[in-house]
């Protein structure tokens, strides 16, 4: 099951992306960055580029987060 969330989260950044993020009260540490891609979005409406990360956390779950130009981190999707 996966869910689209789109909630802003606080993220601890490392050199190659997020190292950990807070969600549902807990800090989840990133074990591996599985994928990383850029998404241009609806540029004709003025949307800016977003950098996506698909990460696997230590507990095993897979999450997708993105960071937009302004530096805000958003938890995009949860794969349970």
């Amino acid at each position: 099951m996966s869910k689209l969330l789109r909630v802003p989260v606080k993220v601890r950044e490392g050199d190659n992306g997020p190292v950990g993020f807070y969600w549902r009260g807990r800090l989840r540490l990133v074990a591996r960055v599985l994928e990383r891609w850029l998404d241009a979005g609806r540029w004709w409406e003025g949307e800016t580029e977003k950098e996506f990360f698909r990460v696997q956390v230590r507990e095993g779950g897979v999450y997708e987060l993105y960071r937009d130009r302004a530096g805000t981190w958003v938890l995009y999707r949860v794969f349970d």
Binding site: S2, K3, L4, E35, D39, R54, R77
Partner: protein
């Protein structure tokens, strides 16, 4: 179906405008040199449509009122009254209308009720033609008032007269109907048919189909149906109106665009507030201006979706004025906004701040929701695009 005409409408209108100034001399409302309406009591030989010169000959002291003098007055009262007795009203002239009579069994009752409303307030006699369809309803009334009908089926009261065309007589009536009462034909077509030796509607049926098509063009089938007694005309509900019109004159004629622009600004504001009240937008704007010596300028703008909004209308009207390319002194100008239709919610969100429905977003079209919906993920555009690229989401190979 009923066709109604209110006699004396224009006169009452003019009276209302003038106040209580009634002279004893008969008054005739004249349009294009002919009598459109007249006061009551009136000289007995006066008829609608009579040339003014002839009318005046019979009544030397008669007063003449030009159509131009009353043209600007609001003329919707009759239709308003009609809409109170029947929801399906198609306006025809300011003094005439069609009523659908859909849910009534007795047309006579409806007409009587209407007559109570309008006589003597808006006019002094109500004429009604009742028949199966629009065409026949009007034709039977015209024929009767033109002296071509008989006395059967007539119901005469003090305030109204009803001419009913019974079902069984309809076909015969139409067949025998002289062409002058076939009010859909224009002069040219009447002329052609007369030259072909056709004087009655029924004879059109007897024409060779090829020939009929040749002379009447696309309308041939239509007339054939009419002649057979099938009225293919639907009732178009036009009242309350889907058109907004304003007209003005400039005396002396305007030699610069400044007064025109000022007038257009007023009209833009007025039209915008009208549209807002109705929650409608207009899809077509027609601007006409005329000057001396038969000069005429026209500009039109059509929109693909209904539009409104004061700012936008101002810009568009200014553009129309430029587009018209007025090149000589302007004596008058008219603006018409028609094809009024309701605006959908998200258009309202685009402009105008005060509208109560502004700011509401239209939800995403549910038909685009992906089967993934079953799994609880909303198929946004991003997701749909990612499906083509992300191997974890992929449903099909890129090919």
């Amino acid at each position: 179906m009923a066709y109604l005409e209110l006699e004396g409408f224009y006169w009452k209108l003019w009276l209302a405008g003038k106040g209580r100034e009634i002279s004893s001399a008969p008054v005739g409302i004249v349009k294009a040199g002919r009598l459109l309406d007249f006061s009551r009591p009136a000289p007995p030989e006066w008829r609608v449509g009579m040339p003014w010169s002839q009318a005046r000959a019979g009544a030397p002291g008669a007063q003449r009122v030009e159509w131009a003098a009353i043209r600007h007055l609001p003329m919707e009262e009759f239709w308003k009254a009609c809409s109170e007795v029947d929801p399906a009203v198609e306006s025809f002239r300011p003094h005439s209308a069609f009523l659908g009579l859909g849910c009534h069994r007795k047309g006579e009752e409806v007409v009587a009720r209407l007559a109570e409303l309008v006589v003597p307030r808006l006019g002094h006699h109500l004429w009604a033609g009742l028949a199966r369809g629009k065409f026949a309803a009007r034709a039977v009334l015209l024929a009767y008032r033109g002296g071509a009908g008989e006395d059967r089926g007539i119901s005469r009261k003090s305030s109204h007269t009803i001419v009913r065309l019974p079902e069984e007589r309809q076909e015969e009536f139409l067949h025998e109907l002289p062409l002058e009462w076939v009010w859909f034909l224009d002069e040219r077509e009447k002329e052609i048919l007369r030259r072909l030796g056709i004087f009655r509607l029924g004879e059109i049926l007897a024409m060779d189909p090829v020939e009929r098509r040749f002379w009447l063009g696309k309308r041939a089938e239509f007339f054939k149906a009419l002649a057979e007694g099938i009225d293919p005309l639907p009732l178009r509900i036009t009242y309350p109106p889907s058109r907004w019109e304003r007209e003005c004159e400039f005396d002396p004629p305007a030699t610069s665009l400044v007064p025109l622009r000022a007038r257009l600004e007023e009209w833009a504001t007025s039209l915008a507030s009208f549209l807002d009240e109705e929650g409608k937008g207009c899809r077509r704007l027609l601007l006409e201006a005329w000057g001396g010596e038969g000069r005429n300028w026209v500009a039109m703008r059509e929109f693909s979706a209904p539009r409104g909004g004061c700012g936008m209308l101002r810009v568009v009207l200014a553009g129309l004025l430029e587009k018209m390319g007025v090149g000589a002194p302007v004596a008058g100008m008219r603006l018409r906004a028609d094809c009024l239709e309701g605006r959908s919610a998200d258009q309202l969100a685009l402009w105008g701040t005060g509208h109560p429905r502004a700011g509401r977003r239209v939800p995403e079209d549910p038909s685009t929701l992906h089967p993934r919906l079953r799994r609880g993920v909303r198929a946004t555009r991003r997701e749909r695009l990612l499906e083509f690229w992300d191997p974890c989401r992929k449903r099909r190979v890129i090919s």
